[in-house]
Homo-oligomer: 343 residues x 4
């Protein structure tokens, strides 16, 4: 069975495992107050050019989004997000559970713009409606598209002009920073966002998201919020050890670059086959549109997820590559798809 279901189907990169193994019997204080976390946090601050940033390590993506937004906002303060946002669609109301309404904005390509946000501000003009206070975006987006530095800067400028916080969900930040033509780096996110995450789960770790809190106003007492939400790992050093390993020698970007390259190979092959793509994604998620029959047949040889039904006869599926995906697997998948589309 070919595996293109997602980028978190397997364990960790061998170097990450090695780091866990070699430190396994060292005893450290718990809860992330240990030398490994301190070192990984310093590395991140350094990569970000943000010596004053707080760095917190959390276990998962929904968890970090929930804890961060819950800590940053009062319950009546709302989040503005694209309608495809993970927090709006696939986190089971985790943000609402802490009281916050999510105000979704149409985003055909998954990306926000100042123009798309403005009407939300226009409408929400009194205490009878929630108070828009934070803009959530993810890079890469849920549909694999990527914000350029200029696009992020425009949103950042808009947010600062309108008293809105900017939060970037970087579950696939590595992919965003390493697609062809990418022009963002860690330090851009630190410069443009109030807080952002560096996703490890989908790029080589067993688990782990680093939250970088750049805005000093958002820093006080953050660990109280983490603990209250059950989000401080007892053996917190596991996160520090893993992040230290993945950030060494540019491994984080190397893995992401590989996933992107495999996705590009897949896209190129699909284009040669004349298979349309639902979104202009340059990253490690590819969204071909197949006939339902072809999509159905493909399920026999490949694990993947259905994105949505395009019409009564066509289905958009999602194919995800990871640091473990091989060119052979991509080619094998293309070969199967070729059979189906030429049937």
């Amino acid at each position: 069975m070919l595996q293109f279901r997602n980028d978190y189907s397997e364990g960790a990169h061998p170097k990450v495992l090695d780091a866990l193994l070699s430190t396994n019997l060292q005893k450290t204080p718990g809860y992330g107050i240990d030398p490994f976390c301190a070192a990984a946090a310093n590395t991140i601050r350094s990569l970000c050019g943000a010596p004053g940033a707080q760095v917190h390590f959390l276990v998962g993506g929904t968890q970090v989004n929930k804890v961060a937004l819950g800590a940053f906002l009062r319950p009546y303060e709302a989040v503005i997000a694209p309608e495809t946002a993970h927090i709006a669609t696939h986190e089971t109301g985790a943000i609402e559970q802490d009281g916050h309404e999510i105000l979704t904005v149409p985003a055909p390509d998954g990306k926000l713009t100042p123009a798309a946000i403005q009407p939300v501000l226009d409408i929400h003009n009194s205490e009878h409606m929630v108070l828009p206070r934070l803009v959530y975006l993810s890079n890469t987006t849920e549909v694999g598209t990527v914000y350029s530095r200029a696009e992020l800067a425009a949103i950042s400028q808009f947010c600062r002009a309108n008293d809105l916080l900017l939060y970037c969900d970087g579950a696939r930040l590595g992919s965003a920073m390493t697609v062809e033509g990418a022009d963002t780096t860690f330090s851009d996110y630190a410069a443009l966002c109030d807080a952002f995450t560096i996703g490890g789960t989908k790029n080589g770790l067993l688990f782990g998201e680093a939250l970088v809190v750049v805005n000093p106003a958002l820093q006080p007492h953050f660990r109280y919020a983490m603990k209250q939400q059950g989000a401080i790992l007892a053996k917190g050093r596991l996160l520090g050890v893993q992040f230290a390993a993945i950030l060494q020698d540019d491994l984080y970007c190397t893995l992401a670059r590989h996933a992107n390259a495999m996705a590009k190979r897949l896209r190129n092959g699909l284009q040669e086959l004349g298979v349309p793509l639902a979104y202009p994604s340059p990253s490690n998620q590819v969204f071909p549109v197949l006939t339902r029959e072809a999509a159905h047949a493909l399920e026999n040889i490949c694990a993947f997820e259905v994105q949505h039904e395009v019409d009564e006869t066509h289905r958009c599926i999602r194919l995800v590559t990871s640091w473990t995906t091989t060119a052979e697997e991509v080619d094998a998948l293309l070969s199967h798809i070729k059979e189906e589309v030429q049937r």
Copy 2:
């Protein structure tokens, strides 16, 4: 530096690590819907003699308590717990964050009894007060004491007679089941509790608590509550792999028994030195009372936590053993304490 700070200072038992390594590159569906979790859950159901129980795997102790109690209770429903309960003292209001008041009960030795619970029911008799609905206890308790089967059965019977749910926090369940004279087994907890946890973090895993939901009324939609709280691990199979490894060949109890044996060695040594113990703990937490000077001096050679100040000149400290504690370490510690108390 000797390490008696806690039982989660290091990584995982080698067999657990081996299991993670050997399965590392297998690809499975995420979120705990994988064969490893299914197998571990089956093992637990089997050990519990509870074929109808739900088993969920969560990452940490505060998390599992918060998600479970949050899912089981309406916000106005309150939890009854001993005043020393972890949820009442060291989880930063995680239970309150979901709306629930915790009604604490005096418990000098850390243990609840029906007689101690009854007054809470007597007082809370109208909708102007919260509705007591769930009894929380932990075995071992926060002060290292252990409930016998008869004690648990009495509480269980009392709960059922009073429309109260019974929840056992088993963060140190292994220790409770393997102390000298212990008479409880997994199946007792399944028979007597509505839900309970089997702690892995403090007994050989990198992380992980198994939640066993025995009462069918508490089972529907539980994974929705988990997900909303950010408590479904993306690579959920890591939990299944670890629990399968630790439950094989009785390793779980073997490790706990070792920690208990080391604690007993420590207690015996302390008694020989005439050092009083603050609690009658037979398990892997030991609570000697030292002069402040002795306690202070000890900090130079041993990591531990202060439990509380006994009086103006004496301090109760907490010494915790684990599956990694060696007899040599215990003896070295005793030797240091001997110096101090005989100074």
Copy 3:
């Protein structure tokens, strides 16, 4: 200044005030446990033909929606509502504050249908998304339209077939039951809904909404939820006294019928003037579309709210009649509008 801003701009109907005055110095137990509330609840049960229904009296509309939905639902359970729903637009995230996502459905005329709800159920098919559990509608709707009995019955049947609760916000229930051609009565709501409200604030009371909880599964411990939300009035009998007065001699419907008649007179006049109406509302809210100039000029002589901008030159405004609106006021308003549209 003419007053068409809303139907809660003044105090109470004289008969309601008289009832408050005549009982003012009687002493009763607090918190709604008094003979006045008991009598009013009995009257409501009787009018509804629902002897087993619980009746609770709350102070306001946002409050009753929040308390009811909060009590009925687990945090991960979501509400389905038309996109114009009051809870989705003008209650500042009150429902989200208790954890619930609101899933809005397009509803050009403000009304839900089974066909509009079905896609929400289709999409929400796993624990990674919220669990749709309750359908919220209001009658009359936010745009003044009215559900017929058949329409409500179709939704009710759909809900029961799909394990969804049905809740009707009756802030303007009197208006809905007394428009021309109306075919619903109190007993229809009791038969078709799991719970519904009978709005008093907008129909003759100083304040007050009666919540009728028909479904026995939703009844236990409801007053605990009320109290925890700060929603039990100390002098609760004020609600009982008022509802008893307004429900006597059909006063509730008489007042609503008057408001509807005034709205009809207004609509007729607008139609004669050729002023288009944005919604096919037969009830006490009228939504003319005027040029921005006309709308702006009207502000000088009449209090009203802007509904939305239709296009760059036209504005939809909202004109609301109440039990205090007179034919003279309507005619004066029409006369002003005539001047503007014929300018």
Copy 4:
């Protein structure tokens, strides 16, 4: 039946009712944005000597406590309160519902002191515990005792030195300011507290508590929090009208003084009868200790509440006077008690 159950058993003072009647048909904007509320707020600011204070009008006591503390605090921030505090005992976890733990402090006479608060700060010293952030007290207290200005000033100074907010629940503030020897005025509360309430429900209004938010840091967006909690009254002017009436010509203090005088007459009578009082209350709540038989017999002729069981043969009951209590009623009650105690 004599009525000493509480001070909210009847309606409103005639002058308050007159004000409601005389303004009944005036039409104003809703939600407290009206001239009546503006005028009442100005009066309060003036009485408080606090021109920069925000004044909000809410319907009830639990509601105002819940909304205020919910708005002022992050969920992990805790409230310090005396163990007898209304929020800790009789508000059904309303504060916890918004996430906050209440840390109770022993207070035999119902009053906090810096010395009693200090240990809470000492214990709560890390993110594994909640963060104490606000001190809640009420004047008069739940057991009828009264803080002097010096006592409040000491607590205020302590709070400011320890980064704690100070909140005074003034449900019975009138009583506190008018007992014999009272030395606090509105302006003292404004000077010493970050926020406090002026209770109307228990002193002449149909309903209503005024919240005075003195600390500018707590003011922004407060009405959003009110609205999200369902706590903005549609016909908000009812609150402004009532408060304006009760604050005119010192009526507020006049009514409270009367209730206190009736309580003093009652206490004097009880002392003559040799009936012990459980608390040294100088205000309108009196707590005699009777034999259970006497207390039981008294139920036949007088409505009151049981405070607590003193021992197996004695019961402490609560007798409350109000602005409607007459000397004749007090004497009749004393006469009945005399019969019982001399039986």
